[in-house]
C-alpha cells in the first residue's frame, strides 16, 4: 500500500506516494534526485547519509520516508544560501577538510548540529560530536580545523548554525 507523504527539503515541500519500506535516503536520492546525501555503509555506522531533520542530525539510511512525513529536512544541497557557501562549507574548503569528499556532506551536517548546540566547541568536543561519522582519508585533524573555522565565522557573522528556514531544533525540554 502506498502512503502519501509531504516532506519539506531545503525549503521546498514535496508530495509523493511512497511504499512504507522506502528508506529516507533512497527517497532523497532516487525520488528527489538529491544525490548529495551519500550511502556509505547502509548499516548506521558511517554517517555519510546524515541529514538534519527537524533540527536534529539523523542517519537517513535508518529512517523510513514515511517517518519523515511533515518534517523539515536540510541536506547538503541546502547549506549554501543564494550562491554563498555556508561557513562550514567555507571551513572545509579553507582548511582542507576533505580529500575524496565522500564523507563530507554527512560530516558537514553533523558539524552543523554540533555548532547549533555548542557554538564554541573544543577540539575534544568536536571529535566527540563527529563520533558518528567516519572518514577514510583525512585523519580527521583537518576536519576538526574546518569546524573551528566555521565556529569562528558563524560567531563573527552572528549566524545560526542551522540556516533558517530549516527549522532550528524544537525545544524538547
Amino acid at each position: 500500500m502506498a502512503h502519501a507523504i509531504a516532506v519539506t527539503v531545503n525549503g521546498t515541500t514535496h508530495r509523493h506516494e511512497v511504499e512504507a519500506r522506502l528508506l529516507l535516503v533512497y527517497y532523497l536520492r532516487e525520488v528527489l534526485a538529491l544525490t548529495g546525501t551519500h550511502i556509505g555503509c547502509d548499516t548506521t555506522s558511517c554517517g555519510a547519509c546524515t541529514i538534519i531533520m527537524n533540527g536534529q542530525a539523523v542517519k537517513s539510511c535508518t529512517l523510513l520516508a514515511v517517518q519523515a512525513d511533515g518534517a523539515q529536512i536540510l541536506t547538503v544541497e541546502g547549506l549554501a544560501q543564494n550562491g554563498t557557501l555556508h561557513p562550514i562549507q567555507e571551513g572545509f574548503w579553507e582548511e582542507h577538510g576533505l580529500q575524496c569528499g565522500f564523507c563530507t556532506p554527512g560530516m558537514m551536517l553533523a558539524a552543523v548540529q554540533l555548532l547549533a548546540r555548542n557554538p564554541n566547541p573544543t577540539d575534544e568536543e568536536i571529535r566527540h560530536g563527529l563520533d558518528g561519522n567516519l572518514c577514510r582519508c583525512t585523519g580527521y585533524q583537518h576536519i576538526v580545523n574546518s569546524v573551528k573555522y566555521a565556529a569562528r565565522k558563524l560567531a563573527e557573522q552572528r549566524l545560526p548554525a542551522i540556516p533558517t528556514p530549516h527549522a532550528a531544533e524544537a525545544k524538547t525540554r
Binding site: M1, H3, E19, A20, R21, L23, D42, T43, T44, G47, T50, Q56, A57, V58, K59, T62, L63, L64, V66, Q67, A110, Q113, L114, R117, G129, L130, D131, G132, N133, T172, R173
Partner: protein
C-alpha cells in the same frame, strides 16, 4: 539493504495504538527504529505490520512528579542526556544516555525502545537497575507497573506482554547523601557496552557506605544487580582497597558473554574493574 514489505500504521494516541495491537496481534511497534530498522534491513525480522509510535507526542516528555522523574517512552537519548531536570535530580541517567552510540543515534533512539529491546549490551538497563526505576506498561485494559528488577527476563526479552506498550519510566530521586556514576567500556567498533556498570551509593555521617545499588550490563545475557557486591559494600569504608575487594564477585554466578573481542575471562575481569570504578566515582560524588 531494503526491508521486506509490510503494512505501516501510524496511530496518534496510545489508545489508538493499543486498538491496533489488539486487532493485529502480530504487529511490531516502531519507536526510534534504531534497533528495529537495522534488523528489518538485514531481514532478521520481517514483520507484516508495523505500528509507528513516533507520532504519539504524549509519550515524548520528561517531567518531575514530586520525588519521581517520569520519562516518557518516546523520550530520545538526546532528550535524556540534555535534560536539566535529569541533570539536577538523577544525573547518572543523563550520563548513561550520553554514552549511547553517537549523536545521530541519540537523536533518534528512545528510552522505551532501548528498554523494550533489552539488548544484552545496551546501556540503559544498568542505570535502570541501579536507580531502581519502575516501568509502566499499558494494554487495552489498563496500566501496570513493573519494577526494574523484574523487567529484564532474558536475552532480548522483557516482562512486557505482546499486547502491552511501555509508556513511561519512573525514576525515584535518590534520597539522603548519595552519588551515582555510569562507567562504560565501549566496544571500539560498535560503541555498545562490552561492560557497563552503574552505581548509586549512599553515605552515612562517617562517610561509610549506607547503601549501594549496582547495575551491570554487557556481561551476561541480561543486565543484573550483583547482590554480593552490594551486600559487602553496605557499612564498608569507601576507600579503594575495600571497594576493590567488594567488587570481586561482580560477575559471580553469571553465564558470562564471550565474543571475538572479549573472552568470558576478560569480560569478568572488566566487570570487576568497572564495578570498582563506578562505585568509587559514585562515592566521590556523594561527598
Amino acid at each position: 539493504m531494503i526491508p521486506a514489505p509490510f503494512e505501516y500504521h501510524q496511530p496518534s494516541s496510545v489508545a489508538e495504538a493499543l486498538q491496533m495491537l489488539t486487532r493485529l496481534p502480530e504487529a511490531k511497534l516502531l519507536a526510534g527504529g534504531h534497533s528495529l530498522l537495522p534488523m528489518m534491513k538485514l531481514r532478521l525480522v520481517s514483520p507484516t505490520h508495523v505500528v509507528d509510535l513516533g507520532r504519539i507526542e504524549a509519550l515524548r516528555f520528561i517531567r518531575q512528579e514530586g520525588q519521581t522523574i517520569v520519562v516518557g517512552a518516546l523520550a530520545t537519548h538526546w532528550m535524556v542526556e540534555s535534560s536539566d531536570v535529569v541533570r539536577r535530580t538523577v544525573p547518572m541517567l543523563g550520563e548513561t544516555a550520553a554514552r549511547i552510540g553517537d549523536v545521530q543515534v541519540r537523536n533518534a533512539g528512545t528510552i522505551g525502545g532501548s528498554l523494550a529491546h533489552a539488548d544484552p549490551a545496551a546501556d540503559y538497563p544498568a542505570a535502570i537497575l541501579a536507580l531502581d526505576a519502575q516501568m509502566v506498561a499499558q494494554n487495552s485494559r489498563g496500566r501496570r507497573t513493573i519494577p526494574a528488577g523484574e523487567f529484564f527476563t532474558g536475552l532480548f526479552s522483557t516482562a512486557l506482554a505482546a499486547d502491552e506498550i511501555l509508556v513511561e519510566v519512573r525514576v525515584p530521586v535518590p534520597s539522603g547523601r548519595s552519588g551515582s556514576a555510569y562507567m562504560k567500556f565501549a566496544h571500539p567498533a560498535s560503541g555498545f557496552a562490552v561492560v557497563g556498570v552503574a552505581a548509586l551509593i549512599t553515605v552515612d555521617g562517617q562517610g561509610r557506605c549506607a547503601g549501594a545499588r549496582v547495575g551491570v550490563t554487557g556481561v551476561g545475557p541480561v543486565a543484573y544487580r550483583p547482590a554480593r557486591v552490594e551486600n559487602s559494600l553496605k557499612g564498608a569504608a569507601l576507600d579503594e582497597k575495600t571497594v576493590e575487594a567488594a567488587a570481586e564477585p561482580a560477575a559471580e554466578g553469571v553465564n558470562v558473554n564471550e565474543d571475538l573481542f572479549a573472552s568470558a575471562e576478560y569480560r569478568a575481569h572488566l566487570a570487576r574493574v568497572f564495578t570498582k570504578r563506578a562505585v568509587l566515582a559514585a562515592a566521590q560524588r556523594a561527598k
